[in-house]
Symmetry: D2
Subunit: 408 residues, 4 copies
Amino acid sequence: MNKKKIINDPVYGFINLYDDIIYELIEHPLFQRLRRIKQLGLTHLVYPGATHTRFQHSLGSLHLMQSAISTIRSKGHEIKDEEAQAAKIAILLHDLGHGPFSHSLESNWVKDYSHEDFSLMMMNMLNDQWNGQLELAMKIYRNQHPKKFLHQLVSSQLDMDRLDYLRRDSFFTGVSEGVIGSDRIIKMLSVHDDQLVIEAKGIHSIEKFLIARWIMYWQVYFHKTVVSAEQLITRILDRAKELMQQGEDLPASGPLKYFLEERYHNDNREDMLKMYSKIDDTDLSVAVKSWSESRDRVLSLLCNNMLWRRLFKIELQKEPLGQERLRAAREEAQSRLGLSRQEVNYFVFTQSITNKAYSSSSDQIQILYKDNKVKDVAEASDMLSLPVLSKIVKKYFLCYPKEYNLNL
Amino acid sequence: MNKKKIINDPVYGFINLYDDIIYELIEHPLFQRLRRIKQLGLTHLVYPGATHTRFQHSLGSLHLMQSAISTIRSKGHEIKDEEAQAAKIAILLHDLGHGPFSHSLESNWVKDYSHEDFSLMMMNMLNDQWNGQLELAMKIYRNQHPKKFLHQLVSSQLDMDRLDYLRRDSFFTGVSEGVIGSDRIIKMLSVHDDQLVIEAKGIHSIEKFLIARWIMYWQVYFHKTVVSAEQLITRILDRAKELMQQGEDLPASGPLKYFLEERYHNDNREDMLKMYSKIDDTDLSVAVKSWSESRDRVLSLLCNNMLWRRLFKIELQKEPLGQERLRAAREEAQSRLGLSRQEVNYFVFTQSITNKAYSSSSDQIQILYKDNKVKDVAEASDMLSLPVLSKIVKKYFLCYPKEYNLNL
Amino acid sequence: MNKKKIINDPVYGFINLYDDIIYELIEHPLFQRLRRIKQLGLTHLVYPGATHTRFQHSLGSLHLMQSAISTIRSKGHEIKDEEAQAAKIAILLHDLGHGPFSHSLESNWVKDYSHEDFSLMMMNMLNDQWNGQLELAMKIYRNQHPKKFLHQLVSSQLDMDRLDYLRRDSFFTGVSEGVIGSDRIIKMLSVHDDQLVIEAKGIHSIEKFLIARWIMYWQVYFHKTVVSAEQLITRILDRAKELMQQGEDLPASGPLKYFLEERYHNDNREDMLKMYSKIDDTDLSVAVKSWSESRDRVLSLLCNNMLWRRLFKIELQKEPLGQERLRAAREEAQSRLGLSRQEVNYFVFTQSITNKAYSSSSDQIQILYKDNKVKDVAEASDMLSLPVLSKIVKKYFLCYPKEYNLNL
Amino acid sequence: MNKKKIINDPVYGFINLYDDIIYELIEHPLFQRLRRIKQLGLTHLVYPGATHTRFQHSLGSLHLMQSAISTIRSKGHEIKDEEAQAAKIAILLHDLGHGPFSHSLESNWVKDYSHEDFSLMMMNMLNDQWNGQLELAMKIYRNQHPKKFLHQLVSSQLDMDRLDYLRRDSFFTGVSEGVIGSDRIIKMLSVHDDQLVIEAKGIHSIEKFLIARWIMYWQVYFHKTVVSAEQLITRILDRAKELMQQGEDLPASGPLKYFLEERYHNDNREDMLKMYSKIDDTDLSVAVKSWSESRDRVLSLLCNNMLWRRLFKIELQKEPLGQERLRAAREEAQSRLGLSRQEVNYFVFTQSITNKAYSSSSDQIQILYKDNKVKDVAEASDMLSLPVLSKIVKKYFLCYPKEYNLNL
């Protein structure tokens, strides 16, 4: 195989694949698995169009990486062919380690590993199969390659990951407020002192990008019904684990059972990884359907709520919720649904979410002026000063069950 | 609940829901199930963006129905409120009966029923739950309501179903050749002698619509790699059934097992329907993953081919393939893969597909002129005469396994 | 004429005209004249797509007004049919009074009148021709109708004018940063205490709208090359007037001559208005072409600079420019171009531009909460606090001629 | 100047300029003049968005040429750097010779020259100013360069000119039926035997392109109201010339007068060209405004009809119109408008328009198969056979004045 491949993409039109190894990596089951992991977990329950997957997003990030490399090279900064290929591989595989429903359940599979950890373990596996050809990609991914800006293209506040997911998520949700001019941002990219920078005339695009990201957080990622749905699936998983630990034998696919029973505690990392690489959204979907007929009232109720889209009602506010409010809601639900005091905790609970638009502490977004000076965007922007950008917004919420006719 | 609901849709921007009953039907698990059935089955293996579902398509068709009703009313044709609601319900539910991967596997679940039959059975179920409120919708669906044009909005060569799926499928695949001006077509809709017609100045939009549909068939629906993938999943299902009948106990979810074992033969219709309403894409996805480790070499090979995206190579041509070509390909594969003569039939086989752009025989697309005369579009079009439009194109194909390194 | 008219519009797809009087007003030469006035004056010299006109913008604003009225009515607020029609007429005609190149030259025609004044005078003319049918529209335009929110739809910080021009200008310039979700904003419109308000769940759309407007200012309306081009045409007009007053007879169309000679000082308002309604972009374009051959060196040089697109170089900065810098630039240009000390002022000069994103003083944008309370958006937004939004940004610039080979 | 320039374009996003000479040619007044010539003449009277210019179209064609060259090179066909630059210059300048309102008035300025002739004359002028650097571009333009496919990129049934104007015209008119997948078509371009060809898998894109072009003809270019408007401006020009020849001194800019008086008959080519390069849409617009007050009743009536958008009524049909119909219409108009028998011919007349989708006679569109054979698209297409594609459609029309209240 040595033909240029073209993939149709609704967001960018066409995505070109130039390297054989990239094409082969895409065909690998570890990457094909991403076809079965939705980019936005349960967000499609609110935005029905959002059925796009980590697979598409990874290809999209690759596409942007290709544009970025070509722009940066055209401005006279050297990126060797093997570095270019490695950067492309790194971004292509950066999300390999996501589990079912992406972030919605991230911490629920294996406590001590993030999805980035799993990505790295899987890259390792692939590196072995390809006889070490992924070494440089992994170095860039871990920021161990001397040219730091290559890592920044993969992971920073202005990486190809973010540029793709903001644009793609707004495309598929239909939330036009999140649309960003990724083309223009990439055309404005450059390198200065081994740092990724944006040329000064691109500053408004960056302002827009930061605002768009902010809006996507509150309008999509933290949309209250999305949060409610994520709480529901989390509760389902919690209950299933609890029942499993009590010896209940719930129907589930092999890999799903493995994680519900937390068998990985006694297992070696390699075997754990093998099981991890076998689960995706579909295992959980099938389980929820069958658990809706479980003898356990809590589990079956939770699962039925998912199937009937009877999501928790959710109240979002800036101040923490008083204990009284929580107690009252629990009592009401307890008596209405006929649950025990312990069981009702699956249906009525509080939590919080937090977000800020930009962090000046770690990797800043640097603006490059014609006199070759650079400034942090928070300083350079006429409108978005640092206090604005880095303000932390925290919101508290209370979930409780909707009233519904159980016998409809 | 009596608030106007708004749903974001990437294709149309917003979809408004005006009727409580519509909103309640959407929340029902039978409708929510459509979230787990991809509109285009395995097409996303070729066009990665095509992960949209029957759920989105049904909402989109509802949206177009609402526009169509409002246009037709504005031209002085009476549609009573209960007829409008019924037409909306009919189009909303028209795809309720689709099984896993939509058309890809349509005939594989229960031989004697089409997805339309299942849709009708499910509407019946819902009608019972809603105490007969769906009667009129079902009459329109079955073309038993006196106003025939209402049925034509639901099912004809110019129905809201087609208008939505062409536009939606081209949107999500990124195949711009299929984009149609659904807005303009709907604005040109009218009624004449109880027939749905298009006003004469809309004729070019209809020409474009017929061409776009033709192109979508050959570029997407019958794309050779899509056909190849559909053949693969069909073979997987066939083999699984065969093994089941031989007493093998393959892992599968309850409802999937029910159909693989063809238990419905001895079952009543109601119970069969109950099982049918529990399967969707995810049951099959999970099964393919676990069957990839089956002891049966044929099944595990087929399933691995799916997971590794090693789709059959496929040759498409206008003439039937000679027996010799088939025999040679079988022998080659038999020896290469170490299969028996019977087993190789799962890997090497021929079939055909057929299509025409327009059928003048049944429900024609009628063009309405200012002098109140109507003409079949095939007659009215300067460019697309009947012989062109109704030409049947048949293509034959041969599938056989790609060469690949089994041990990569 | 009583048929519903449909107009194709690249931004919204279709614009429906429902009222005969609206259609007739559009055909009137006063409105047709807007076809010859570019929405963004000379901006197309930087963004070549920006050749759209006040005509399109006025139709677009009408379209949004129609949506807004229908949304507001659907939320239970009364708008009588005659009020609806009047509001539509008011927005349709709000830009009638623009002169050549819209804002670029606004103050140059008749010192004491703004384009709004001219709009009102022209509405008066039309009102006479239509026997008083425009009375109510004019009341709304002048905010003399009791329902204040109708005026706010025509003129406020959230009027249909702004919603259309931001979206349209970003569409035609291709500056995606300015794209706003006008659909969503309009769906969120409501009325509270006779004030136009935005429902709370639309707050992010408003944040985005304010940012988009801000960005459009700095990326398009105040783009430094646009500013430079506007300075050039202003200088051309100034020089032509000066020469006219010195008795020079420059070629120009009748109406253009009228204004260059400032004959309106001795004229009655009606005759002045008649002449005003006869000039548009084209008179000036033709004049610039012929003046490029003028005997006056300053005028011919300025006009040739326009025809060759040799726009002034422009330096933009936050601090005022020192007198020394100006003097030096003048001396350089004087000797290079062989100009007198007085003449060089046409080629080297300083000025400033100023902008803020939002003004809380006059008509605030109010957010309506579910508990029926309202808040100014500057207070309601988590991100965009008042100090940010109402910060006044002032920039100073210096213009001077590019170096170029005069004999190319 | 040696920086890469980027131009925003609403159709393609960005257009990159790589060559200094290209940038300099764009700045030249001969090219800047195209800013004042609308791409679609008077079409904006029907589709208000269609105010785009030959300037934009020329840049767009340049952009597509750049993509095409890069695609063809990537498939292993040699295009030398100087050939690439020359092809780019040739397409950039191909429309230089258009006169006011583009095609609407093409034959009305100088009988014996087409706009292509003028383009060539102007290229010659520029070639002199650039000391012969445009020689190769002109050779390609005139098909005198050995590599014939380069000429085909500039001028053939699949040239960059058509690809751009179809896409651009459908974008600005808002007629989505004309949208073509120019990206895909260009990606499928290749060269075989020094002929531009399309790879076989691009055949549906070509089918779609031919249909889209066909539809654009009937929906836009030959839209009956557009035809009517073009007839009106033609009649205005005819009448003005007639009056000029009778010694009437009509107000007009210098260059416009030159052509109305047909002074070029006695002039040398060079001086004629100089005058030609000074007229554009604006000269005519200004003239129409002032002629609306002419003493000549025919001219003032025609011009007022333009300003009031009182276009001719037009009847379009497949058969020629009988003499009787014409006579009756003339008598009616004569008495209603109080015109002489000769004068009425300006208001009531017949003509015809003709079109075919594809011509197999001259430069065919060739499809390239994997076995390296080529076929004419008319043969290769399953749907669009030659008789369909090359059918000549001729339509006859009758124009006559609308009834209107002259005194409104």
